[in-house]
Symmetry: C2
Subunit: 144 residues, 2 copies
DNA sequence: TATAAACAAATTGTGTACAATTTAATTGAG
DNA sequence: CTCAATTAAATTGTACACAATTTGTTTATA
């Protein structure tokens, strides 16, 4: 009996289905996000901007659990698409002010249909969805 | 009332906490995996090999939800560490046989302590853990 | 008030991820 | 039998992701 190794068997991991599920769902977003010329990471960055209109890289990183190494090139790409502007803050030049543009705001309208389209390809009853949401934020909150 | 945009607000997404949670937990693995000179992806690939001893790239990809574009360089790295060997199968040369070595098997002993160390930094009661596991596999199964 | 500590972004380097294409081997329909 | 279709890996190109370091600015203290 090699029960000794049970804890390091793939099917006994909790992180693995989390990792696989995340990747697979993000992959399912691609066809819909392609229509908006956004990647998934760019999409969630835009979500923060749609809500806040203006953020620093630090605030964005805290909201998305991403660091400047990921965000700097991503924000430069979104800037080149015309969806946002980047400028140092006059009050404290260490901070970069990221501001949503009219063009960036317009993309929000095109994004409105995405959640429903995703529901079709994921299919999870609302009871499980609520439970999943609750547990995931419980983990996130206890880790940060 | 901008309730019109409720569905595309970050806090109403289910995929985002999944994506963030996955990344954060994988990041917590790093210090422990560094001791084994493995990344998280290399670790789960080794888990499959510890169990199966021998797989093709296709089988490994199906188990891990990864394609050859990710696995080819990853397996070459694990080969260079001496943890596995790579060779075309004589029965069908399209397939690559990936075989666990003695050195690769030995790493399993060093990995035994990881799950417990991870429990300390994640903290989820077994009820929630079971629920999370159930829901994640429900999603994975209905997507593949 | 120098200047060391702290801070925010940017940069560098390594390692995934994955779509799309290519290469090489095998299979199957005519 | 033969060549088109299929299949498995590898390759190519783009985009994260993050640790570690660097750059430039601000703050705090000796």
């Amino acid at each position: 009996m090699d029960d000794k190794y049970a804890a390091i068997r793939l099917q006994n991991q909790l992180c693995f289905p989390l990792y696989a599920c995340s990747k697979e769902i993000v992959r399912r977003y691609k066809p819909y996000l392609d229509e908006l010329d956004l990647t998934y990471t760019q999409y969630i960055a835009m979500m923060v901007l749609w809500e806040k209109k203006e953020v620093t890289v630090k605030e964005l990183g805290e909201a998305l659990y991403l660091d400047s190494g990921t965000l700097t090139p991503l924000l430069k790409k979104l800037e080149s698409k015309g969806y946002l502007t980047r400028a140092r803050m006059e009050s404290d030049e260490r901070n970069l002010r990221v501001t949503l543009t009219k063009e960036g705001e317009a993309v929000q309208e095109k994004a409105l249909g995405i959640p429903e389209k995703m529901n079709c390809c994921v299919k999870l009853d609302s009871e499980d969805a609520k439970e999943l949401y609750r547990i995931l934020y419980k983990i996130l909150n206890c880790m940060s």
